[in-house]
């Protein structure tokens, strides 16, 4: 019943009344997959220094409300650019390429097979309460993801959005796996009496 497509949600966020420019322009950065993290952080901090509700706490209601909306927007823009996967999806969206995995079920069978094996390994480690094994899986996954990040980077460098989108889709599967491992670790680390 939910409308799928997280990415569309992101670019037509209804809370963005005045943010007509893209997030890269908002932070004064070139529109590219490679981002200077220090520059992004500095621009983010400088902007929050202006708009954050703490800067307007002693002001009238109108300004406090506006400030909250703006600060939320800046946070959202930062979130979209900070992590490579989110950034890749945002860039693809700007280029008009749909990278939402749900609409593209045609993943290669070999890849899906691999996914199933990962899943089983995680489920097994979870059932056995094997903390160390989960940590190992997490590290292996990170190594694997690094390779895909390289593919995304090369895709964007060559303006080959099809290649980039393909890699992004695979990386989204990897991210889901990562969450599964995290959930398993969380479950093992929670005391039994916690509900």
């Amino acid at each position: 019943m939910r409308l799928r497509g997280k990415f569309q949600r992101l670019i037509r966020d209804p809370m963005a009344p005045d943010f007509s420019q893209d997030y890269f322009a908002l932070f004064g950065l070139p529109r590219a997959y490679r981002v200077d993290a220090a520059r992004l952080d500095a621009a983010y901090h400088a902007m929050q220094n202006q708009v954050h509700p703490d800067r307007h706490a002693h002001l009238p209601e109108t300004e406090r409300r506006l400030s909250m909306q703006w600060a939320a927007q800046v946070n959202e823009a930062y979130r979209a650019l900070k992590q490579p996967l989110a950034r890749a999806r945002y860039l693809l969206g700007l280029a008009g390429v749909d990278a939402s995995g749900e609409n593209n079920t045609a993943m290669p069978p070999a890849f899906l097979m691999e996914q199933m094996e990962w899943r089983e390994a995680v489920a097994e480690a979870r059932a056995a309460g094997n903390h160390g094994e989960l940590e190992t899986l997490m590290q292996r996954l990170a190594g694997h993801a690094k390779g895909i990040h390289g593919e995304i980077e090369r895709g964007f460098d060559a303006h080959d959005y099809t290649t980039a989108a393909d890699a992004v889709r695979r990386l989204m599967f990897m991210e889901k796996l990562e969450h599964e491992i995290e959930d398993a670790l969380d479950a093992l680390e929670s005391p039994a009496d916690e509900s």
Binding site: D13, L66, R79, E182
Partner: protein, 622 residues
């Protein structure tokens, strides 16, 4: 930072005018009020020089209320009416409270939040907390010699929406204007960070009387950025007392202590625990009402032994917080200890072992939260000076979501997202001709709705009948800087709207609050009208001051006739202030607010553009 001097949206017209503001650490065991005086954060003491206020409220038969030390002595004699650790019940139902069996209170499982039946009637934990806050407010006003502009109240970082809302309600009930709810570890970080001018990644380990928080923060260029937070809202120093108490019953073979004896033995347990922070053993002597006697000695190793499982409960949250921050213990430059319970040697040892470094304890762990809160209150009240240039970027501790088909949770806002935050999600109808849709808002990390905390339920009605799947219902979650959620839903094709500020399931309704306010005013024989009038006058004066300052700073952003409109509104409001009709003043305030809406937006826009220009200044400094 020169950047901030370029544009000061918040600059007061009268910078010499110091606004009185305080930070309050509303603790499980003790509460503290602090302020910034002559640029220095100080704890405000009572008339005999005591900094801490025991968080104890005793209701008396005649209708009077004792708070703090005055109530402390009556704990064992009158346990049912001397309420301790009320913070544990804030925003909580009966089933959420641990150790309820050994608590001497007469609980009432009212809808949402638990209530306590006392000799003065049924009390909500919010009312109990409000008594503590009221006393601290009076202490501050007496000591500072004037009315407070507002207060920053601290809450455990891991408090959920219901607990935060309950805390804010308590402040409101105590007549405090809440400038901000601030997370306790973040408050501690301010106090530490500014003292030590530190940069880098820090962990704040906060074990209070009843709650445990761990926060991972990054400090850089005056920005305190919380990367992640985790914790256990039911773990604290009280639990260590509880373990010692159980050990005592066991050793002394006491089977069914009376509630008076229970309270008495818990006090003895606490004394022993405190003694063991500086001694190797603690003697325990107690005489019970039954004539039984307790004569024991608790050795430090035995104490560590019986509390081992409590210590191990902190490990999970520490690991999770680091993982969520994407860091390892090696990335952490220092660990700040907060909360009286961190004085226990076994706690310090466990933290040092986990982080592989000695924790920082150079500030008093019991005062550091209040001091940090005072510093933040000073800034939020508009007393910002050049040296006070810091910014807090805090996070929401628990994910927020909605119930979907099959009792599953669809997360809308992930835990550790920086606040404020707004997220929208689209839904559609399930049946042909469906005209209403109900929403159930929950908070927590689990997949099943039944495992998460239910925050609110609401309905969107009047959806025009369409075929299934044709309607577009946009649900927007908004979390403000206090970490409080509001949710609205809107049918996009017709514009039908429903909105809710989340609170009903576990909080108090507005009617309840209004009723309590009325009761408390009647009791102190306050003149409600005079108070309303004064409140509106202060509010109006504050607004006029702010607008005039804005006009002086950014007048050129307005066209001539726009400026004329605003000035007319100011003049009209000034006239109303001189009158005695609080409703007329309120209407004038609303009207001036409306007239300045565009102006405010333009100024904010200008601020952002200047921030971008300024960002090049920062780059040069990198």
């Amino acid at each position: 930072m020169a950047l901030l001097q370029i544009s000061e949206p918040g600059m007061s017209a009268a910078p010499h005018q110091h606004r009185l503001a305080v930070g309050i650490d509303l603790g499980t065991t003790n509460s503290i009020v602090a302020t910034v005086r002559n640029g220095l954060a100080v704890v405000l003491q009572d008339e005999v020089g005591r900094s801490l206020l025991p968080s104890i409220v005793r209701y008396k038969a005649g209708g009077g209320v004792d708070v703090g030390y005055a109530a402390q002595g009556a704990q064992a004699a009158d346990p049912r009416n001397a309420i301790v650790s009320a913070k544990r019940f804030m925003g909580r139902g009966l089933k959420d409270v641990s150790h309820i069996e050994s608590m001497p209170y007469d609980f009432l499982d009212a809808e949402g939040m638990v209530r306590l039946r006392t000799v003065a009637g049924v009390k909500s934990p919010v009312e109990v907390s409000a008594e503590i806050l009221k006393l601290l407010r009076h202490r501050a006003e007496a000591s500072l010699g004037g009315e407070l502009v507002g207060a920053v109240i601290t809450v455990p970082a891991y408090f959920d929406d219901a607990q935060r809302q309950a805390t804010k309600d308590a402040a409101r009930l105590a007549g405090l204007n809440v400038l901000r709810l601030l997370n306790e570890p973040t408050a501690a970080a301010i106090a530490y960070g500014l003292d030590n001018a530190s940069e880098g990644v820090y962990a704040v380990f906060d074990l209070g009387g009843g709650t445990f928080d761990i926060s991972i923060l990054k400090l850089a260029r005056g920005v305190f950025e919380v990367l992640s937070t985790n914790g256990d809202p039911t773990l604290g120093g009280d639990d260590f007392d509880q373990r010692v108490y159980c050990w005592m019953l066991d050793e002394a073979k006491i089977r069914f202590p009376t509630i008076e004896d229970t309270r008495y033995l818990l006090l003895k347990a606490r004394e022993a625990k405190e003694m063991l922070t500086s001694h190797d053993e603690a003697p325990i002597h107690a005489e019970l009402s039954t004539g039984e006697t307790v004569n024991l000695t608790l050795a430090i190793d035995a104490f560590a032994d019986i509390t081992r499982t409590l210590i191990s409960k902190t490990l999970g949250p520490m690991r999770k917080a680091l993982r969520d921050a994407g860091l390892t213990v090696d990335d952490v430059k220092g660990v700040v200890m907060v909360g009286g319970a961190t004085r226990m040697p076994q706690v310090q040892r466990a933290v040092a072992e986990y982080f592989k470094k000695e924790p920082l304890t150079n500030l008093d762990p019991e005062k550091v939260v209040a001091l940090g809160a005072a510093m933040q209150a000073n800034v939020l009240a508009g007393n910002r000076a050049g040296a006070d240039d810091w910014l807090l970027l805090d996070v929401i501790p628990l994910s927020l979501g909605m119930e979907t088909m099959g009792g599953l949770v669809e997360k809308v806002i992930q835990r550790n997202a920086t606040i404020p935050i707004a997220k929208a999600q689209d839904f559609t109808t399930f049946k042909d001709g469906q005209t209403a849709m109900s929403f159930h808002i929950v908070q927590g990390e689990r997949e099943l709705v039944s495992d998460c905390r239910s925050l609110a339920k609401f309905e969107l009605r009047g959806i025009p009948p369409m075929v299934a799947g044709a309607a577009r219902i946009r649900v927007t979650f908004q979390v403000d800087a206090d970490g409080l959620l509001s949710v609205s839903a809107r049918e996009m094709t017709s514009g039908v709207e429903a909105s809710i500020t989340v609170k009903p399931s576990y909080g108090l309704t507005d009617d309840e609050i209004a009723g309590m306010l009325k009761d408390s005013m009647a009791r102190v024989d306050d003149d409600v009208r005079a108070r309303n009038l004064r409140e509106q006058q202060v509010e109006a004066e504050r607004l006029i001051e702010a607008v005039e300052a804005a006009l002086a700073a950014d007048g050129p952003l307005l066209r001539r006739e726009e400026r004329d409109d605003i000035e007319e509104e100011i003049a009209a409001l000034k006239k109303r202030i001189a009158g005695t009709d609080h409703r007329a003043i309120k209407a004038g305030i609303d009207s001036l607010n409306a007239a300045t809406q565009d102006f405010a937006a333009r100024r904010m826009d200008q601020g952002v553009r200047r921030a971008l220009t300024g960002h090049k200044v920062i780059e040069l400094k990198l």
